[in-house]
Amino acid sequence: MSHLKRETALQVHLKRLGSCLALGVVMAMMIGKHTGSQNDYGLGFRESVLKPRIFLFLAAGVVVYLLITFWPKVAPYLSRPGVRPLAMGALTVMAGYSLLRWSDTPQLPDTKLGPLAAAARGVGELDGFTRAFFGSIVPGSYWLLFLIVFVLGGAALILRNRALGWVVAVLAVAVGVWGLSAQLALRSFLKVPDHSTGGYVQLLGYLAIAGSAAVMAYTHAESADTRGFINRVFNWRPGFPLVVLGSLTGLIALLGAGWFAPLSLNAKWWDMTNVFGSEAISALTSAYLGWLVWVLFLGTATLAAVATARRNRSLGWAAAGAGILSVLVTLVTIHDFSKVAAAKAFDGATGPWQNVGVGPWALAGAFTLLAGAGWMVASRPTVKEIIEDAADSDAIAAGTSLNVTRALLVAVIAGALFYPPTATGFWQTVLVSEIGIYVLLAIGLNVVVGWAGLLDLGFIAFYAIGSYTTAFLTGTLPVKPPSFLHLPPLAAIPFAIAICLVAGIALGTPTLRLRGDYLAIMTLGFGEIIRIALNNDVKFGFYEKVLTNGPKGAFGIPHPHIKVGPLELTWGQNSLQYWYLLLVLVVLILLAFRRLENSRLGRAWAAVREDEVAAQATGINTVRTKLLAFAIGASTSGVAGVFFASQIGYINPANFVLNNSILVVAYVVFGGMGSLPGAMAGAAALTWLPEFLKDQVPAEDRQMWIGLIILLMMIFRPQGLIPARRRAIELEGLDKPKSPTPIAVPASEGM
């Protein structure tokens, strides 16, 4: 007789169905804006669960149940080529339709597609084509179009019907372009400066669906090999994806985007000469706005395309040069015409760079991408060298991942340089004060947690020390520095680094023998001591002077200012200026840390993290190694502190609470411990998310959604967004075989 009774099949299914239905109920409670009131606390619950909408959620639960139950039957379909892009595309289109703004119209508070379409479909001044998209013929026609494309795409995949695949590909592109053109038409009708992205994102989604259908129609493969496909594309012509991306961005910039957008005007590229007339602007700008821009764009794109196609080094360098030159000319032009606009005081403009539309920035981004394509061609082996090396498959595998990394790097550079100016003021502030600063902090904490494996829950203390050092040196604390140390904010950076190094060692020394939980608690205590000391305004028995101004903190910390000879840079209130300062700081720190990661010290950190006793046995000074991790991490945080203090202008102890320390740890873990790009991506994603959710869910619900996302991440991808090589192995298991080695495709075979 055994106590271990096997569950009957019925019990298993009932349990599963029950769980899935419960999931539906939970989702019903999470989704939607339902709040109780003082008089009726249960209102929210009844509104969300005891209404007909519950059946929708229960149905979703049943779908999940069916999926789990019949997974073995479903799975083979899911690995077919084209399924993943179809799903990604569909999700992107849905995000574009339902989450993102379609217009920055001040009059309409919620300018997602639905409300905007309801307002637009009756406007007679819009052309019929645009109104049809917004639903003048069939209400909600955009959703209908999406459903048709998606269902046909799915049908083509399931039936493996090639003709249908091609039809879907064409249809998807057509619908995507239709949507974008409708948005653009509405934009020029409304004549407002517009930063909305909905139209572009849905186009992207439709292009992905089209790509999926085309892949499905083209391929003979039984199951998808996404990584293999990416490898083949990048091995075929390293710069090719960048050329495509750059050309598309450039075309959108020239043919659709607004170039100059003060209120009441949304000038396209072809309107520009009319807006400014030719007499006010310089000859170069006039030429640029007239014809030069096409010469530059087509010239660079052609050069990059030919260089890529022929894998020609010198052409590659030429394309890179042309791209960079074009970026510079574009910047000069932007400066020029916006200066003229400022002189004419268009929309209260006070200086250059104001009221510039998305167009020229997007074009500058496009030139950067094309230049990057040229660089990739120029710096990679030519076809001949590849064929000579063909036997060395390791080298080819390494080369492929290098190609992908480089392409991503170029895209990130282009985005980091030229996306922020096109964002709204709100997002620029978020970019600097949230994303940027926390990225910097995550880079620092990654040294301690990710590389050396020491859990630090008091990291924000060093940020506080950096900030207060700045406040002290700029003379904004009650305790004044000696006059020779009275410094401008940026000059405080070396001092903040030095003081944080010392503070890092001060924290490290007593904690050296501690590990794991004990270390975490000790660092947590350290963080709180610093904050409370600042708050209580450190007083010693014999020294009764006010030092830190207590909870009031420091005011009027000056903004950064650089003056070298004739060059003078002043930072003011505008977040965008700080973005570029931050970019310089992050790049400098990244360059240093990349070297550090592969240095002797980096290897010592890895050894201490993996096995401290063994590290000691191989002759590593574990004490010094751990102290250096604390010190170097802390100094990065100190730099962030200087930046924060001089940007925001006032600081107080409430900026440096425990919660922030824990968030930084979460960012590093979410992104991928021990990986620099991971830590940055984690911080960026999790600081962006709450701001993005602001428009989507009730404010009080945001933390819940973020919690859900972190939870799902830790369940399904514990190694983080961009895992470090070693950590990935640790969590995926050591025995898992590597991905199939990519095979070099000779140029003659192509894709």
Partner: protein, 238 residues
Amino acid sequence: MSLLEVDNIEVRYGAIRALKGMSFHVDEGEVVALLGANGAGKTTTQKTVSGMMRPTLGEIRYDGIRIDGLPAHELIHLGICHVPEGRRVFPMMTVHENLEMGAYRFKKPDQKVLKRVFELFPRLEERISQHAGTLSGGEQQMLAIGRALMGKPKLLLLDEPSMGLAPLIVAQIFEIVKEINADGVTVLIVEQNAAQALALADRGYVLETGEIVLDGTGAELLSDDRVRAAYLGEEIHA
């Protein structure tokens, strides 16, 4: 003069005296075995010699220099390399990276030594780019020894190299230790597997609760009744 002289050392874990005034010596070129049951103080002795622990009393001299109290990362520069108990390779590093870590005290790993390690352990060369965590127990032990050799030791401290390994592998590893010794490396080995260790060792010491109770050449100890009773599991009818 002996290469290593341990003179009346006492080591404490808090209130517990783990070593109670222990003295022994290791001559250059010798293999010396420390034997004893669990808790006798074998590992503590080795850790104290390699600098991971400090004696509270007594002196340790190496090559005529006093080394007690010096940290491990300085002793390694004198040529004392320690293979700690329980293999302790870096599991997420490849075999090659592990070996490179062994040469951490040098700017660059010595390729000749690397070649010699691969001669001694051809298995490691086969698995050179494999992660150490995927190796079998015996291979990990080989890697741990190979890693210590990369530090070009004059005195190699081996802590229970046979622990948890199949008899065949143990024999193989002891064979290799003999070769390492033939290369001119002095070896101080801690073992529970007395028969194997004494067959290999020139001399041996038997530890009980932190004190040396017996010493002699390997052959003497092997034939000693008390050793046979306590460590070789033979019943003596006397």
